[in-house]
């Protein structure tokens, strides 16, 4: 680790940083909800709690809301105007997997016709990442997202006393120097973080049994695997995995007309490939009517289809889908099963 990149702040500084940000911005941070880590709007430092495990939902909703108005129209006057709702905001407590997911979302929404709503929000968002520790569902180490070098403004590593701080942007540096009395990190503080990283690296209960770069090829050969029918039989098609996933970005567009039948809004709402009507088209034909086909599609989106387009895996190993699944469909276990099948051939 290059010590020029690292600063040190005290606990008091951290409180000052968060309190200062709350004064200036809309701040979202990690809190405990019904005993589980979750993101929520916070208005005081005391509400914030930093967690080792991932939050229930990812932070994608602050950049890609579950429901947003894209334009307002008037049928009578035949007029319409675009709506872009975005404000300066800070998200505190994102882990390395989530920041990787964010950089993928940045690429998705900038590709093709850039999405002004997402990009406007992203440009006004400050990301403060925090270090984490794997639980039994996490497998970021196997998909290359255990550490993060970009996508954040400030990243905090908790030390026994205080925090080691990395900055990832000019904005991050500016905030740090304005709201804290940071100093360059000492050699032993950097060593402390390096030691913690080593412990973290050796603490994964879940890992994938093949290198990340081989996964697209393995998935390519798994189309006829018996795995899909087996998990298709137990899957609810409830879409929970889609909605907790930090890289599922699919949406539906609906035109909602007011009761006067004159004015209305075009809204974008989250959609998920696991629900039955996702691939249903005019005439009620459904391209993926079976849950088995929908699961195969979703898993392939994470490990194969999008890697061709963006040259990156779209599973960041956060384990949220496995954690939330009522019938215990575990994305890492299924991938390992496919790896085993592949190795037998």
């Amino acid at each position: 680790m290059d010590n020029k990149k690292y600063a040190f702040i005290t606990e008091k500084d951290f409180k000052g940083l968060v309190t200062g940000l709350i004064k200036e911005y809309k701040v979202f941070g990690t809190i405990k909800k019904d005993g589980f880590p979750a993101f929520a709007g916070i208005t005081s430092f005391d509400e914030l709690e930093l967690f080792q495990s991932p939050t229930h939902l990812s932070a994608k909703e602050f950049l890609f809301p579950q429901r947003e108005t894209l334009l307002k129209f008037n049928i009578q006057n035949k007029t319409h105007e675009p709506v872009i709702e975005s404000g300066e905001q800070v998200i505190i407590g994102m882990h390395s997997c989530d920041i990787h997911a964010l950089t993928l979302m940045d690429r998705v929404f900038a590709a093709g016709t850039p999405d002004p709503n997402y990009l406007s929000r992203r440009a006004k968002t400050i990301i403060i990442g925090t270090e984490c520790f794997p639980d039994k569902f996490c497998f970021c180490k196997s998909v290359g997202t255990m550490t993060v070098e970009e996508g954040f403004d400030i990243f905090l590593h908790k030390l026994k006393k205080g925090f080691l701080v990395r900055t990832g942007s000019v904005k991050g540096e500016e905030i740090l120097s304005r709201l804290t009395k940071s100093r360059p990190a000492a050699f032993k503080e950097i060593k402390e973080v390096e030691a913690l990283q080593k412990v973290k690296e050796g603490s994964f209960i879940t890992t994938l049994d093949a290198p990340a770069e081989e996964l697209p090829g393995i998935y390519e050969k798994s189309d006829n695997s018996p795995v899909w029918d087996r998990i298709g039989a137990i899957c609810y098609g409830c879409g929970s995995c889609n909605h907790v996933c930090p890289t599922c970005y699919c949406f539906d567009i609906k035109d909602e007309v007011k009761a006067n039948l004159k004015e209305g809004e075009r809204v974008r709402v989250w959609d998920g490939c696991m629900v039955e009507d996702f691939a249903k088209v005019a005439g009620d034909h459904n391209f993926r009517g079976l849950r088995a086909n929908r699961l195969k599609h979703r898993f392939n989106r994470k490990f194969r289809y999008l890697t061709g387009k963006f040259d990156a895996l779209f599973c960041v190993g956060c384990g949220r889908c496995s954690r939330t699944c009522l019938v215990n469909i575990n994305i890492a276990e299924i991938t390992n099963e496919l790896i085993r099948e592949h190795n037998k051939k």
Binding site: G35, S240, L261
Partner: protein
């Protein structure tokens, strides 16, 4: 040229008329609605009656022989029939009585009068209206959500097919940021129940009782396994979840 306003009628069968009250509580929209349609039948709101209507919103389940005749007449008169709320679309709470012999039900509710009162004597197992007539569209829920009524209403007037949700409540529960009811040590029907309610019960700390009926293709077998996994016996599950689910075991 001004088109003639569509004529709309509201009818109630066996129900609490709460879904009609939900329609009446659309206070911000009612002035606009009244500019667009003529309401010709609406017992909850007016005394006039007419058999000349285009769209019939029907609340309540069918639980008397006489109601079978009435619902058939409504189907004949209307171009479009919309089931309004759980009693109408799935049979609703009224189907609880179907577990018992009709004679016992009559006696336990009306006592001696059951033998003499024609209306009581006429009772049959409760059922959704689509077990008698063809239904064009469904507005689910106990009670219906206002926004769903407005969505179906405006869609019909615009000649659009209404967008009726066919995804489990889990979708809206996740969007609401709720921690799963099962994680909180309770049980839930959300994974097999049709969304559209914004997971209101779970958001307020309860569980989903399935008032909106099943999604089109519920994985009920999987749900049985899930309930077992969380320590519920088959009997307790049936008791708990037969509140809304007695009429239609699967689908619709």
């Amino acid at each position: 040229m001004e088109m003639e306003k569509p004529k709309v009628a509201f009818f109630s069968f066996t129900c609490c008329e709460g879904c009609q009250l939900m329609v009446l509580s659309c206070e911000d929209e009612l002035p606009d609605i009244l500019k667009l349609v003529n309401i010709v039948n609406f017992r909850e709101a007016m005394t006039e009656k007419s058999d000349d209507y285009d769209i019939a919103f029907v609340e309540g389940s069918i639980s008397r022989k006489e109601e079978i005749k009435k619902i058939k007449k409504i189907r004949n008169n209307a171009k479009i029939v919309v089931a309004l709320g759980a009693c109408s679309s799935t049979g609703g709470l009224n189907c609880l009585k179907n577990r018992f012999p009709m004679e016992d039900v009559k006696m336990s509710v009306y006592g001696k009068e059951a033998e003499t009162n024609y209306n009581v004597n006429d009772t049959i197992p409760a059922r959704p209206i689509d077990s008698i007539i063809h239904v064009d569209y469904y507005i689910h829920g106990c009670p219906i959500p206002k926004k769903e009524f407005l969505n179906v209403f405006t869609s019909l007037l615009l000649g659009k097919r209404p967008d009726i949700p066919n995804q489990p409540v889990c979708v809206e529960c996740k969007m609401a940021g709720n921690i799963c009811v099962f994680e909180k040590g309770m049980s839930c029907l959300g994974p097999v129940t049709r969304a559209g309610c914004d997971a209101i019960c779970v958001s307020y700390g309860a569980m989903c009782w399935g008032c909106r009926g099943y999604v089109d293709n519920p994985n009920t077998q999987s749900h049985g396994e899930t309930l077992k996994k969380y320590g519920l016996t088959v009997e307790s599950v049936i008791r708990k979840f037969s509140l809304y689910g007695k009429c239609k075991p699967e689908g619709k």
